[in-house]
């Protein structure tokens, strides 16, 4: 149905032309689901955008053919293309909330598409839009018709985007990272919905994702891309079990799966020693409560949570958005004051000191944080060296030369090559920025490191490296970790204990091995089911319930 031959796409940039896609060949049969897998910069999204010819400005198809149903899309004129878009070929996107017009009712946005392709008249558009909403399983579709995107959750927004894409019964759906930014349980329901609809309508799907596990579960055929070229192609089972190309092998290895140890993620990984966990409690959270004043009355972000963390231990605080995990980590990091309960550090209360005054507390150096977004948490005008030296300048009395020596030492510890120290954040890669963030947190020789989704924005192969670095550091420095994450697979690799949070309450807590192998709470089970790679590989012990 779709045949791509020798596709080349170039982008005009200030520094000359950049080849984003270099000679891609693809074939898609009717009713087939094709997974396009690759890390950022692999050209997978650009390939998809060129099918619909909606490349960003500056991008153009340099050569090659894209044949859909006998029409060469690369030569078709704008009017012909516009007729195909949304009617024959549709697309859904990542970040669904941004993908919807923020100031137009969702019902009207669906109507726009229906009316455009003459699938509805002014009189029955409303009814058909509601039917489209019902088809993507939105409850109370009639009321939702009048909702604006900001009134809906991320998962709901993605359903609306799907409703828009499928309103005119297209025969090909391109899904560009449709689950990125959604909660684990929502991810699963969105993907299941796409699968159900594609089967019911015999629709072909191109699924673009960085997540090999996701692609493996939902696709008939996988294509791995790197640097604008196809690396390997095949059925999911063969591709993941006997990868031929070294890049595919690396990618498969880096994907966290149950049963894998952390050093399995990278090729040259060495096993880590069993961590030395002391019997002494380092951090103790007692009945922590946090209430924010919201627009519609108070919001109870934390409803009294308690847990202990021993010195040298690693505890995973797991939950979806709105679970209160970030609020809890901010309070423990002493950036926020709780409205109730207390946090004991080394037996003494740290919540007795207000967050604003905590910077002068001698324990400030002992509790440090690594933030989620490595890019946003670095000052764009400070070089890596300045970023790492900043806490030393503020909280220690080290002289200039001592400080510089310490920065070198830290950079070496986190595997950041010294020549990179003088670069600004935008000149560093994602993994390098993450290393700068970790080095900065380690500068003051903390005892407790709070890691707030430190790998969430990273590609899997980079994530594998960073996770190994964290495990190495824990081993060599005897650090205690509080690891905040939505990703159970990652938590499982790094942590000995797990606390599952939901709506400000603890659903389940205990040793990581037990909680993930035999979860008791339904919610934990749902979370695990969302981590869908369980069924992918046979040689891996699947998570059993």
């Amino acid at each position: 149905m779709l045949e791509i031959r020798d596709l080349h796409v170039t982008f005009e940039t200030r520094n000359g032309a950049v080849d984003a896609v270099r000679g891609v060949d693809l074939d898609l049969a009717k009713g087939e689901t094709l997974g396009l897998v690759g890390e950022s910069g692999s050209g997978k999204s650009v390939t998809a955008f060129s099918i619909l010819r909606i490349l960003d400005s500056g991008g153009q198809i340099a050569s090659g053919t894209l044949t859909y149903d006998g029409i060469d899309l690369s030569q078709a004129n704008e009017a012909a293309l516009n007729d195909l878009r949304g009617r024959e070929i549709s697309m859904i996107f990542q970040n669904p909330r941004a993908a919807l017009n923020p100031i137009r009712k969702i019902g009207h946005q669906i109507e726009d598409v229906l009316r455009r392709h003459a699938r509805a008249t002014r009189y029955d558009a409303r009814q058909k839009a509601i039917a489209a909403l019902q088809e993507v399983k939105i409850h109370d579709a009639e009321a939702r018709y009048h909702a604006y995107p900001f009134e809906l959750s991320g998962g709901m927004c993605q359903r609306v985007v799907i409703a828009i894409a499928l309103a005119c019964q297209p025969r090909l759906l391109i899904a560009d990272e449709p689950t990125t930014g959604l909660d684990v349980t929502t991810q699963k329901s969105v993907m299941d919905l796409v699968r159900q609809l594609s089967i019911a309508r015999k629709m072909s799907v191109i699924l673009i994702t960085h997540d090999l596990g996701l692609a493996g579960e939902y696709c008939d055929q996988l294509v791995v891309m790197k640097d604008g070229q196809l690396v390997e192609q095949g059925a999911p089972a063969t591709l993941t079990q006997t990868p031929q190309h070294s890049y595919t092998r690396r990618l498969v290895a880096a994907t966290p799966l149950p049963g894998k140890a952390i050093h399995d993620l990278i090729e040259d990984g060495t096993p880590h020693d069993t961590p030395q966990i002391s019997q002494e409690t380092g951090l103790s959270v007692r009945n922590l409560e946090m209430t924010f004043a919201g627009k519609n009355g108070p919001v109870h972000a934390l409803k009294g949570i308690s847990f202990d963390l021993k010195w040298g231990g690693a505890l995973g605080l797991v939950g979806e958005s709105g679970s209160g995990k970030s609020t809890a980590s901010s309070i423990i990091a002493r950036l926020l004051d709780p409205t109730g309960g207390e946090v004991l550090f080394d037996g003494a209360s740290i919540t007795a000191t207000p967050a604003r005054a905590f910077v002068k507390d001698p324990r400030r150096s002992a509790i440090q944080m690594v933030f989620q977004d490595a890019t946003d948490s670095l000052n764009p005008r400070h070089s890596a060296r300045q970023a790492i030296a900043e806490p030393l300048k503020r909280l220690t009395k080290l002289g200039r030369s001592d400080r510089m020596a310490r920065v070198f030492e830290l950079a070496e510890k986190v595997g950041l090559p010294a020549p990179l120290l003088d670069r600004l954040p935008h000149q560093l890669s994602g993994g390098q920025k993450a290393r700068v963030g970790i080095a900065r947190a380690l500068a003051l020789e903390p005892k407790l490191l709070i890691l707030d989704e430190p790998t969430a924005a990273l590609d899997v192969s980079i994530q594998a490296r960073v996770l190994n670095l964290l495990a190495d550091l824990r081993e060599s420095m005897g650090l205690t970790y509080l690891f905040v994450s939505h990703d159970l697979a990652v938590v499982k690799l790094l942590c000995d204990e797990v606390v599952v949070l939901r709506q400000g309450q603890i659903e389940e807590a205990g040793p990581a091995e037990d909680v993930l192998r035999s979860p008791k709470a339904d919610y934990t089970k749902a979370l695990l089911r969302g981590a869908r790679w369980a069924s992918l590989m046979d040689d891996v012990t699947p998570v059993t319930f």
Partner: protein
Amino acid sequence: MASRARIVGGRLLQAIPVVIGVVIITFVLTRALPGDPAAYFAGDAADEASIQQVREALGLDKSMPEQFLRYVGDLLRGDLGTSLSTGQSVLDDLARRLPASLELTLTALILSCIVAIPLGVMAATAPGSWKDHLCRVFVTAGVSLPTFFTGILLIYIFYFVLELAPAPLGRLDFIFIEPDPVTGFYLIDSAMARDWETFWGAAKQLVLPACTMALFTLAPIARMTRAAMLAALSSDYIRTARAAGLARRTVLMRYAFRNAMLPVVTTLGMVFSFALGANVLVEKVFAWPGIGSYAVDALVASDYAAVQGFVLTMALLFVALNLLIDLAYAAIDPRIGFDGA
């Protein structure tokens, strides 16, 4: 709708401290102005005794707090005092001159929007093209030519050389009779009276000064429209709309333009308030009897009552304008408005 009314009420309440602040500041500032109004109005030939007499008549011999209390008392009764230079009550002066300024500014802004917004949209849809360059030329010319210069240039071309425009002497040629003041806007009043001759007479007088102002206000509006449209056009929801095959017009107007309107409305409010103040040069060139020239004359003459009246009126206008912008915002953007966020 009840919630909408509550927002309006809330915003008006918020304006009260602003107005009180303005009353105090204008009072203090006018007192801090150099020059002695008593000496000024007593005339060159006055001796010490007659100056003292004028001073007592103006109440300027009293202590500052006492003067202030009297001023506030008068204000509460709706009495803005009497202008010393015109001899009229300040309220009457302002009531006659404010509509003149508003009519000029509003016409200029409407003209400016009609040109600037399409220009900005056009430039944004084809960045780097000749349309974009045309927009840039307009914008640069608009900001770099001072209003008094464009004003005089327009008078020279259209009145002196081409003889198309009437003499730049105020709002209406003396051969017409002023329409009954209902709104104070000559165009509206004469249209309401079905006096089309006067309407055309007033319109002709208005064209040149309005064009002068419009040229000046064109730049910020066009520039903001272009920037807001560019931002909107590169957003994710435009990509969704394009991928759904929506017509270019729908994408441009219904998706991009409405979102781009938000910053444009803010800019419009700012431009309006600053145009009302910057009017004075245009008013002087075209002998327009507006409040800008009134205020400058009053300031030069240390005419306390007139200056205070002017500043207070402007403050109230700004409050009303901000309210209007907030309401426009709430009407365009469903995300804001219902709890005053």
